[in-house]
């Protein structure tokens, strides 16, 4: 009976995770980080060769050897960590809700230093939306052709541990009610038109946040002739949340970071 349901629910434990524990926390994403000091040319070469998603690469810059890691492609397969002899480890924090360029990290292999990237500015749309609604976003989720892994994690944002509504953010049923589109990919050939139409149906100012390795870069599906491409090859994108799939904490970080709320 309905009263039994309510009684049981009220006596269940409180599980809400404080926001401080969620922000910039990528535990469980399985994605790698790099200890710059411990990095050697051999480790870098072996890690790049082991990467099944072409996320790790050795670049040559004026004769210097640079290890680059594109989180926008990384699927967290863990091969680099297995070969990394401790220099490559499970990252505890990964940039989320940032520009595409900011997802690519670089290390000078010989000198063992992390090279800095320019953090992008708040986009014009983000400034405008923040001025109008503050952080109380209406989000419309759009599946551009994903495997549903990202959807499972996005749906988890509404469970009692993460409770997205505590930030005044909620998911809406129509793009016409949305301030932000949260788009997963890869955008398939069969979905490209629907993704464009959904974008057009969303009133301005609007933000587009793309989610997951496939959304950010096409991921492991990038080469398929049936796939149109990453989300930003179909519609304009403001920020990116990497991961395969990103954890709810990463999604939350990315959504808040897009508005620089935290």
């Amino acid at each position: 009976m309905i009263f039994d349901i309510v009684q049981r629910s009220l006596s269940s434990p409180r599980v809400l995770i404080p926001v401080e524990e969620l922000l910039a926390n990528s535990m469980g994403s399985r994605m790698p980080g790099v200890h710059a000091q411990a990095l050697t040319a051999t480790i870098a070469r072996r890690a790049a060769a082991s990467c099944s998603a072409s996320a790790l690469a050795i670049e040559d810059a004026d004769g210097r050897s640079i290890l680059s890691l594109d989180y926008g492609k990384c699927t967290g397969c863990g091969h680099c960590i297995e070969t990394g002899e401790g220099a490559i480890f499970h990252a505890e924090s990964i940039p989320c809700g940032v520009s595409r360029q900011a997802l690519v990290l670089r290390w000078d292999v010989e000198r063992g230093v992390e090279l800095q990237y320019d953090e992008s500015m708040l986009t014009a749309a983000a400034r405008e939306i923040r001025a109008i609604v503050g952080g109380a976003l209406n989000i419309r989720q759009v599946d551009g052709g994903s495997c549903n892994g990202c959807e499972a994690e996005i749906a988890a944002l509404t469970n009692p541990y993460y409770d997205l509504e505590r930030f005044g953010i909620h998911f809406v049923a129509s793009p016409k009610h949305a301030d932000m589109l949260l788009v997963t990919g890869p955008v398939t050939g069969n979905m490209a038109e629907a993704v464009k139409k959904t974008y057009e149906a969303t009133p301005s100012p609007k933000l587009v946040v793309t989610v997951g390795a496939c959304g950010c870069s096409g991921g492991i599906f990038a080469q398929s002739p049936e796939v149109a491409g990453s989300v930003d090859s179909i519609i304009p994108v403001d920020t990116y949340i990497p991961g395969c799939p990103p954890t709810p904490a990463m999604l939350l970080t990315g959504i808040l970071q897009t508005l620089r709320q935290r």
């Binding site: 349901i5 269940s12 399985r30 052709g145 994690e153 469970n159 129509s174 799939p245």
Partner: protein
Amino acid sequence: MTANLIARDAEGSVQAVLRLLESGNARLVSIFADVDEDGVKRVRYLMDIKREYRVIGVPITGTLQSVTPASPAAAWYEREIHDRYGVEFDGHPDLRPLVTHPADYRFLEVQGVGVCELPVGPVHAGIIEPGHFRFSIVGDTVLHLEPRLFYTHKGTEKLFEDTSVANGAMLAESVSGDNCFSHAVAYSQSVENAFGISVPPRGRAIRMIGLELERILAHIADVGALCGDVGCVVPAAYTARIKESLLQASTRCFGTRFWRGIATPGGVRRDLSAENARAFGNAVALAAADFADMARIALDTPSVHNRFEGTGVLDCKIARDLGVVGPAARASGIRIDVRRDHPYGHYRKIAVEIPHFQPGDVLARAHQRIEETRVSASLIHDALHELAAGIVRTPVPCDSSAEGFSAVESPRGELLYWIRIRDGKIARCHIKSPSFQNWPSVPFAVHGNITADFPLINKSFNLSYSGCDR
């Protein structure tokens, strides 16, 4: 062999397939086309003959006789092959494009006084996958539903080609994200079958724990979502909490929420410490007990029970004709389960209780999921208590050529991978997805119901779009 099946291809004919189907002893599992090493284009018919899988290869010369009139379960497979390989099937009732989306596609038109069409999708109102549904309705009642899927078609089977055997597992994980572990295990087992490799007992047990956990996660979420769909939102939030507790336990004990990156050809990539085994076992036991209580209370609530009972009935005969698998089949009285019928891995050592129900309505599918959750939790409990010592993985040759296939009982039902390996790389991969098999049955369950009950009926099947579309 670690897995359920190995049988060489028999060169055959469509007539042989038809004779088997007409004998009543065979179930059609899948049909797919392939251009073989010898350059011959073949259509392969995968059959289940008295609990034994058999593959019958038929070289394509001109048109082939359709087996759909004998077994409607073949309808979508033949349409897909028609789309992809241009094979004509003589006697197929409907060879309209399935996977491709030409602009001039015509939906089946229902004519009559007061009939109107209601198009829905591909973009839906929730956090769900894309697909289009064309309803023909009179008033509130659905006369006909035509699903138009394959919006998430990514050419995944094709992408397997030229992928190394080791990296194939990662691709398999991205066929249907919520069933990623089932896909990775089915794929890995097919490689192990092809090469005749055995997975160590501890690796087999850890795989079984992951497979049963995936079933629990799916069923808990589905029962909660069904309650949510009839406006009973407290159990929906409650079960979402239970599901999340298991995902977090997985992160603590295995370093991954959905068990991605664990299964690999030859075994598993993560071992389990005694301490983690205890912690994980406790989390599963707690979650299962908590869920069982809430599910019972929720389904006893008249407003829930009333909406579930008699809604979306899938008739046993229709389910059988369409080759329906998994919980949907078992809730319509068809007792099939790969774990019992074609045991693989750890399941070869144990007897699995297979619950089933007769009515085939939303209520039966909800009860089916609740009962299966109970069974899965006890399987995990037993496996953790009798966890064999030793290694969890054996090496796999990386430059050999072979063919193999293997099935698992995924949360949605029979999931089968068939692969051909050339010099350590995949040359062809076919995925028999339970969602592809079950989607054609959904319109039959929806027929005669009111439009407003469609989300509920659809959710009670909870098929994967990406798993179907691949």
